[in-house]
């Protein structure tokens, strides 16, 4: 991911993913501020809507990607030891991949 030479690609993906997450978070904030605490039925109906489900998955995948690029750029700023850095990189990748599988399962795997 941080494999591109110039970092320009990461920079753009970081901003495109940020835009998607921002749109999703703003939508949720407005819904919560306008309607207050949802009931279980309202909350679950919202997530049963296919368009909202698709937007949720998109926003979550954007989040995992954005967060992964972010932390992969942060570790070398503070961690000078190569082995520690490699461990943190591996953990970050593992977290992002695990989150993605889990998110698909939450949204589309539950019956």
């Amino acid at each position: 991911m941080a494999s591109n030479q110039s970092g320009i690609q990461d920079w753009w993906l970081q901003r495109i993913s940020a835009g998607i997450i921002a749109a999703y978070v703003l939508l949720l904030i407005v819904l919560l501020l306008v309607n207050g605490t949802p009931t279980a039925a309202q909350w679950q109906a919202l997530f049963a809507n296919n368009a909202f489900k698709a937007f949720t998955l998109l926003a979550l995948i954007a989040t995992f990607y954005h967060g992964l690029i972010g932390v992969l750029h942060i570790w070398p700023d503070y961690i000078k030891n190569a082995a520690t850095r490699a461990t943190l990189n591996a953990l970050s990748w593992l977290a992002a991949a695990g989150y993605a599988l889990y998110a698909v399962y939450i949204l589309f795997g539950l019956k």
Partner: protein
């Protein structure tokens, strides 16, 4: 250039520029825009690893009506867990607003010190206010 190396006596009030040492840290105050930036970084990391808590809660809240109620009583009903949730809520709102400021500054605007300072303060104030509004609405 070369006479830089000659040792002339230094005027007393001439500022010295050097890397700070660990022993300086207690006296060193990060400028406001620097604080805004480091908190953007900290909130980003907190959110990335906070997902480990948030995803199971999303799953729980969607699984069944009982699951949703369990979220409300076990998480929202527990002062410590509630504090963690409010912390993560603040993290995402702060990170969102500071991220927008960051992108604007990347485009070359809001860069001089005065503006950078006042927009940094605006990020702190607005993120606290928006968080408070949501918490008040959901309490």
């Amino acid at each position: 250039m070369s006479d830089v190396t000659k040792s002339k006596p230094r005027p007393v009030d001439m500022p010295t520029f050097r890397n700070i040492a660990v022993s300086d840290l207690a006296r060193y105050r990060l400028p406001l825009p620097g604080i805004a930036s480091i908190i953007h970084r900290i909130t980003g990391i907190a959110l990335f690893f906070g997902l480990i808590l948030l995803l199971p809660m999303l799953q729980m809240s969607l699984k069944s009506e009982a699951g949703f109620e369990a979220f409300r009583t076990i998480v929202w009903g527990n002062p410590l867990a509630k504090l963690v949730m409010i912390g993560l809520l603040f993290a995402i709102i702060y990170h969102l607003i500071a991220g927008i400021r960051h992108v604007i500054q990347d485009s070359g605007k809001w860069l001089d010190l005065q503006v950078s300072r006042s927009t940094a303060s605006a990020v702190f104030v607005s993120s606290v206010v928006v968080t408070a509004l949501i918490v008040w609405r959901l309490w």
